[in-house]
Symmetry: C2
């Protein structure tokens, strides 16, 4: 099907989806889960074709690993859909309401966006996750996966659509958008057909979508996260939080990328921290003041403070004051998650007030900035923009609202 | 000052603005009001230059009227700033908060966007209104007014900046962006310097900004609003609401533009409605089924159902069913305000659920879809997009949020 036909079918489906009850949506999610589970053999066979093609093309094994499905990963997709059925339905919730002086009743009610476009990279589990989140939030989904996962995604989407049909819901709620790069452009310019675009992937993909799209975009995911160890830090806490934020899962957006240390505690903190980091396999890229404390610290280049490593690497810098730390963060932040370690209440307050990011943390690991950790139950991504949603996006963040205004003949004076 | 220098100064100011107390902002608003009041003579003199230039250029008198200041209009600008001081400050409000299982405290707090760009047409009162709304919501403002109001806007912004300085707040909180059309382009591409752009004006301006901007945009204002008179309508109410929605202020976005009438009540309703509309000076542009009832109804052209008249004109059409009415609205709506007149609860519910717009009204005039009528106290515009804010935008809609996460050393398992 051509993209425009898919988008129009999705828009038509969105009218039906907007009025579904929670029970109907939950039954559909269970049916989609059943269909994916039943397709396990087909999914593994299709995925083997994608994996082989990726290997033949010389793709890096870490990317091949993301692309690969296993029975356990398929079981995870199935469980993800079932877990969504257990979550509350945000649609129809009254956000607020009041009466005008003349008795007219105003209620702001949560409604779906309508049609959501998701552009994402190789992980095939995103296909089922995103389709499920969109369905539960009453949105039709246009899924634009990586071409490297195309054969897998076709089988997944076919199963999801069979599940929808078996539950008596139009399969046009979910579409796989196929075709060359120009189709991504068509999606980005489908104003009026697509209500919101969510890119999920690396910084390059996100930049392309943000700059080329006339459809409203929710930007997700890049996190050049800083951890500032203040002069009044509890240094035991600082070491533990630093290690957790850097090492627990270095490839994700809420992992620490830059360590800033107040010079008054550099001598007490850095030898311990650098030893602990080295023990965990982390390469530190530091300024001269950091390199004094260990021969293992390599010299940081000028651009290094601007980039996510997403690996066992960490930039480090000694600063003279809280203000210098905040100034550094302001110049290099991607607005994701910024952390201070301090026992000084006033310093913490100044950091929290003065740093502009989706999340500002005091004495806790930035790894908590996550929809699962927040208790959202599902997450479509972590927004780093200020419009609409900021931080982890769950089902509520996948909704818009409308005002329902009820009177009995009132007119404006 | 060059635009980029203004934007950087505004960004620097936004750090200060984000941490101001309500008292400091309210004192600044009063000081800005005092400064505008004190500048009355200068404002009138400057405005006379703009008005004369507009007349010399052959500008339509209705537009010259919008451009013209009077002592009463200046008093309105002054009072608008004072009224803002009386409104609650949304910044710092906790939207929601909870504790994680490990004791980490999560609080979602309202924060300013940072730097807001507003691109608007000739009304000079928008300059003071927008600056005041931005200041109260903790945002720095880049104001891009019409070149036809440039001399007036310069005097207004100079007064606003003097007011800020007198209150001890950086005048860089408010800037007038001058220069040719290319400057509007610079604003639209100032990602990272400008956090959100709000175009206020006609459909052409809004389309230009939406299509050309890489900065997130909040779309406001176009309202091709429908009023559907159902078979079960109270026809007295229908006539009164129709007249109010069309005639009370035809030039605004929440005025009715198209009347849809169920054919079962066409004969009982249309002769009365058409007579009342004619009595109010409204020209009706109807389909054949409407024209049966009055020789004064002119034939509607094919494109007429897609456009806002913003005048004493009204499109009209007879429909065979609720579904046909909803289908017509879906094809022609701008997503602003859509009204049904009916006593049938089930029909009302189907309309409310099935129509996707910022506001859906039952038995009330669409003229109520307004920040002032809603009790917001201030309005920057009426959003017709689904992302971030939908419907009238008050101070709360001029904010973002951030998560403040506080622990005592917790790390992720």
């Amino acid at each position: 099907m051509e993209f425009v036909d898919q988008a129009e079918a999705a828009r038509a489906a969105s009218i039906e989806l907007a009025t579904l009850t929670r029970d109907a949506k939950d039954a559909a999610l269970q049916s989609m889960a059943d269909a994916v589970a039943a397709a396990e053999a087909d999914l593994l066979a299709a995925n083997a074709v994608d994996v082989q093609a990726a290997r033949d093309a010389g793709t890096d094994e870490s990317i091949v690993d993301r692309l690969a499905l296993t029975p356990a990963r398929i079981a995870g997709m199935v469980q993800g859909l079932r877990d969504l059925a257990a979550l509350p339905d945000p649609i129809g919730d009254a956000v607020r309401g009041w009466r005008l002086g003349n008795g007219v009743r105003v209620t702001q009610v949560r409604v779906p966006f309508g049609v959501v476009g998701i552009i994402y990279e190789a992980r095939p589990n995103v296909t089922a996750d995103a389709a499920g989140i969109c369905l539960k939030s009453g949105n039709a989904a246009l899924l634009r996966g990586s071409s490297s996962a195309l054969i897998t995604n076709r089988v997944t989407v076919a199963a999801l659509r069979r599940g929808l049909e078996a539950a008596g819901i139009t399969p046009d709620a979910v579409h796989l958008v196929e075709g060359g790069r120009e189709i991504t452009g068509d999606m980005m310019r489908a104003r009026g057909l697509v209500d919101v675009l969510i890119p999920r992937g690396g910084a390059g993909l996100i930049r392309t979508v943000v700059e080329g799209s006339t459809v409203p975009v929710i930007e997700t995911g890049t996190g050049n996260c800083h951890l500032y160890v203040d002069a009044a830090a509890d240094l035991d806490q600082a070491v533990a939080i630093l290690l957790n934020a850097k090492v627990q899962r270095p490839s994700v957006c809420n992992a620490a990328e830059t360590l800033l240390v107040h010079r008054d505690v550099a001598e007490a903190f850095l030898p311990r921290a650098l030893a602990a980091l080295a023990g965990a396999g982390v390469t530190v890229h530091g300024d001269d003041a950091t390199r004094v404390f260990s021969d293992d610290v390599v010299a940081a280049t000028a651009t290094e403070y601007d980039e996510e490593y997403l690996s066992l690497d960490l930039a480090a810098k000694v600063v003279g004051s809280l203000e210098e730390a905040m100034d550094h963060i302001r110049r290099h932040t991607t607005g994701h998650s910024e952390t201070i370690i301090t026992r000084d209440r006033d310093v913490a307050d100044r950091f929290v007030a003065g740093i502009d990011a989706a999340a500002v943390l005091v004495n806790a690991s930035s790894r908590f900035v996550d929809g699962g950790e927040f208790g959202f139950g599902a997450e479509i991504g972590i927004s780093t923009q200020k419009l609409h949603a900021r931080g982890p996006m769950g089902l509520v963040e996948m909704t818009s609202s409308k005002y329902v205004i009820e009177g009995d003949g009132q007119v404006r004076a």
